[in-house]
Amino acid sequence: MVNAILKPKSVEELAEALRETSLPVTTGYGVDRFAPPCEDRCHLDLSELSGVLDFSPKDQVVRVLAGTKVNHLGDESKLDLALENYAARTPSINEVLAKEGQCLPFLPTPGLDRLIEQELLLTYSCIGFACGMGFPHLREHWNGTWRDWVLGAKAVMVDGTEFKSGSGVVKSVAGYDLHRLLIGSCDTLAILAELIFRTTPIESVVLPLPIVGPVRAASREDVAIQRVLRTDFAAAVDLAGEHLVLADPATSTIWVRLSEGMELRSFAYDWVRTSNPYRPEFRVDAVQSHFMRRAKGIFDPSERLNTGAMVIV
């Protein structure tokens, strides 16, 4: 049960909200997409923590708040959703960057609509969600992962402590790269509030050519993401069969619609994750799990932050 929904508009408001609650905390962007297992909780909707703070085109660096959209993907106004601030939306990151011929290389892509429909489309396009989840994406082979674009971040711990990591320049090795640890951590250690990215010229972004599968991942359906060796890619696509949503030959990654009782075939050295971090199919190995447990115990000792996500056991 959600006891309170808070919509912080600034990093300070986010920190204040965290300091004032003793309940378990969940985070989301506009839509409470997943169903966390905790009974009483405070939900932080970060969709209004939005805006491009600085952009230096010549330095190719942009600083944004976590709720800012990367793109407005398609005509979202037609979606049957009550997103209160839609009418007065802030410009997306790529709208701002495009004026200078630059972008974050997360651009509309053929086949992407099969993966992220309806409310998930809106959620997915928030930069904080995309980085927090650290999903593979279709330009990864050419332009790198989310982690590769993030130069620094500001985040807030569950007790309201704000901290920053990294810097605002394209290269820095000062201190521990905590922001890398937060990318893909589903806000289970601390909440990403502000991110600094390296931008890229639009003309340098390659149009990917994914294999579009026979099914769509419909609203509220979860997908499994599996990455295999190049030498196993054709077999993985074949085996996914009618469940295949998308496949990316460049990174040998497949997206498969999850259905009841379905089991993905394992391949040597592969990995599998799910779009929903609370599903038990989200797999991490024993060593990873051991250190995740340690990290969680150090950063969130009372286990209040997105408890149950990433199956930390």
Binding site: S172, S185, R230, V287
Partner: protein
């Protein structure tokens, strides 16, 4: 302690894997940052992950500090044995364990020289992209510890983007594997945290590296400028134009003077700076991309860049017509630091980063600091990344000069932070910049970084006194390290 440790470690590993004595202690008391020094008790030369684990377990049992060392080319004291103890040299861990061309990855022990990784796969049209200037000797493990960059970082990224998996001996002595043959495995990105942690979170013994296709076309030019300001402004203008060069390396007049003195290299009359520009084009990823041609050629990009230089006071551009000429153009860049040896007995290369648009202002500041302290400086750096490397040349037998070099470096790094930059782009914090971390990070930031460290490193044995300032038991030693050089 030294004799007993050596005796016990010989029993553990075998006599030929342990060295000690005054000569050894002197040889391993610093890396290429020679201002701070401290002697180890003993040096071990493991040949496998199991050897390293055995040493780390022994150190834990006896509460002896330990630090890993690759080729000793680090420039911030990262492998200096700050509290003495055992230096674990990886120089014998230099084997390639697996090569998988189809899946574009390679598994190697971490003492292998960076260049050897590329040499092993070049015939297949692949390479290991990180290319620090020390790549002929610096090791994979050292590159991982420091998250090394290099001239081609601008396009290909730093080491972390090219490491797929690694084997770590944790500070407590257990073996842990992170990642594997495929990038992006689920869970917290510990691999991304360990790369660049300066060997403070454990000792990496083996790693899977990503192999990147060699470019199908490379175009290289060397442009001479009549002013350093013109050259730095050209750098910003080239990147802002949408060109993504593979490398943009800048050398100032001090470097040109050293190159002339050491190797007799000459440059156009009136040259105050040289800008090396390299553009390349990767192979197509699909037949469709191949058909479409995929944008401008490397040569076209280079010509555009040279044209931009002409608008910023360039006086001459040489464009390589073949590989031999390309190597000749790179010669100035690659020999630059070595040539500095002609100017003075000691060189300290500082490392800071600024937004590239601030390069003109920053270089003016560097020259003014050099003049104020009366210490010579030359600049050779990764201009495209805004990664500055002021090289001070001096005589470290004179304590006053050493003190001036340290002060000058601190002023320059403080200016980097003031201009929105970082105190290190690729050399790391080590011991050199411990006291400067407070310029970039607040107390809360540093407290959280200490929490991150404690995920892996809970006591003070594994590479103590590095990265984070004011560590318990370290502060009182700092003066002693520095005193060793004076």
């Amino acid at each position: 302690m030294s004799d007993r440790a050596a005796h016990e470690l010989r029993k553990l590993l075998g006599a030929d894997k342990v060295i000690d004595g005054p000569g050894v202690q002197r040889a391993y008391d610093c890396d290429a940052y020679s201002i701070d020094r401290n002697s180890p008790s003993v040096v071990v030369l493991p040949e496998s992950t199991e050897d390293v684990q055995a040493v780390v377990l022994w150190c834990n049992d006896h509460q002896v500090p330990f630090v890993a060392r690759g080729a000793g080319t680090g420039l911030s004291g990262g492998s200096m044995p700050a509290l003495g103890g055992v230096v674990i040299s990886t120089k014998r861990m230099n084997r390639i364990l697996a090569i998988d061309i189809e899946n574009r990855c390679l598994l190697a022990q971490c003492g292998i020289a960076n260049q050897r990784v590329t040499d092993a796969v070049r015939e297949h049209g692949l390479h290991f992209a990180p290319d620090p200037s020390s790549q002929s000797v610096s090791t994979l493990g050292g590159n991982i510890a420091e998250n090394s960059g290099g001239p081609h970082t601008l396009k290909y990224g730093v080491t972390v983007q090219h490491i797929l998996g690694l084997t770590l001996i944790t500070p407590e002595g257990s073996v842990a594997e992170f990642g594997g043959m495929l990038a992006g495995s689920p869970g917290y990105d510990f691999l991304g945290l360990i790369v660049g942690s300066e060997g403070t979170l454990g000792i990496v013994t083996e790693a899977w590296v990503k192999l990147t296709p060699l470019p199908i076309e490379t175009a290289t030019g060397l442009v001479a400028f009549s002013s350093i300001r013109g050259a730095t402004e050209a750098v910003s203008a080239i990147v802002a134009s949408g060109i993504v060069p593979a490398a943009l390396e800048l050398m100032d007049k001090g470097i040109l003077r050293a190159l002339n003195a050491a190797f007799g290299l000459t440059y156009p009359e009136g040259s105050e700076a040289l800008l090396l520009i390299e553009c390349d084009k990767p192979p197509p990823c699909s037949p469709k991309e191949d058909e479409e041609g995929g944008g401008a050629s490397a040569h076209e990009d280079l010509l555009r860049a040279v044209e931009i230089c002409a608008q910023h006071s360039s006086i001459e551009a040489r464009i390589a017509r073949n590989e031999a000429e390309r190597q000749e153009l790179w010669r100035a860049r690659k020999k630059g630091i070595g040539a500095m040896g002609r100017l003075a007995p000691t060189i300290v290369t500082h490392d800071g980063v600024i937004p590239r648009t601030k390069l003109p202002e920053m270089l003016d500041f560097v020259y003014s600091v050099s003049e104020r302290y009366g210490i010579g400086v030359a600049n050779l750096f990764h201009a495209g990344d805004g990664n500055l490397h002021p090289c001070f040349y001096f005589d470290d037998r004179d304590p006053k000069q050493v003190e001036f070099v340290i002060r000058a470096g601190e002023e320059i790094l403080a200016k980097c932070v003031e201009l929105g930059g970082s105190i290190s782009g690729e050399h790391g914090i080590g011991v050199e910049k411990l006291d400067l971390m407070g310029l970039m990070f607040s107390e809360d930031d540093l407290r959280v970084q200490a929490l991150v460290k404690s995920i892996f490193n809970r006591d003070a044995l594994c590479n103590p006194c590095k990265v984070l300032p004011n560590q318990k038991g370290c502060v009182e030693h700092q003066r002693r390290w520095r005193g060793a050089a004076w």
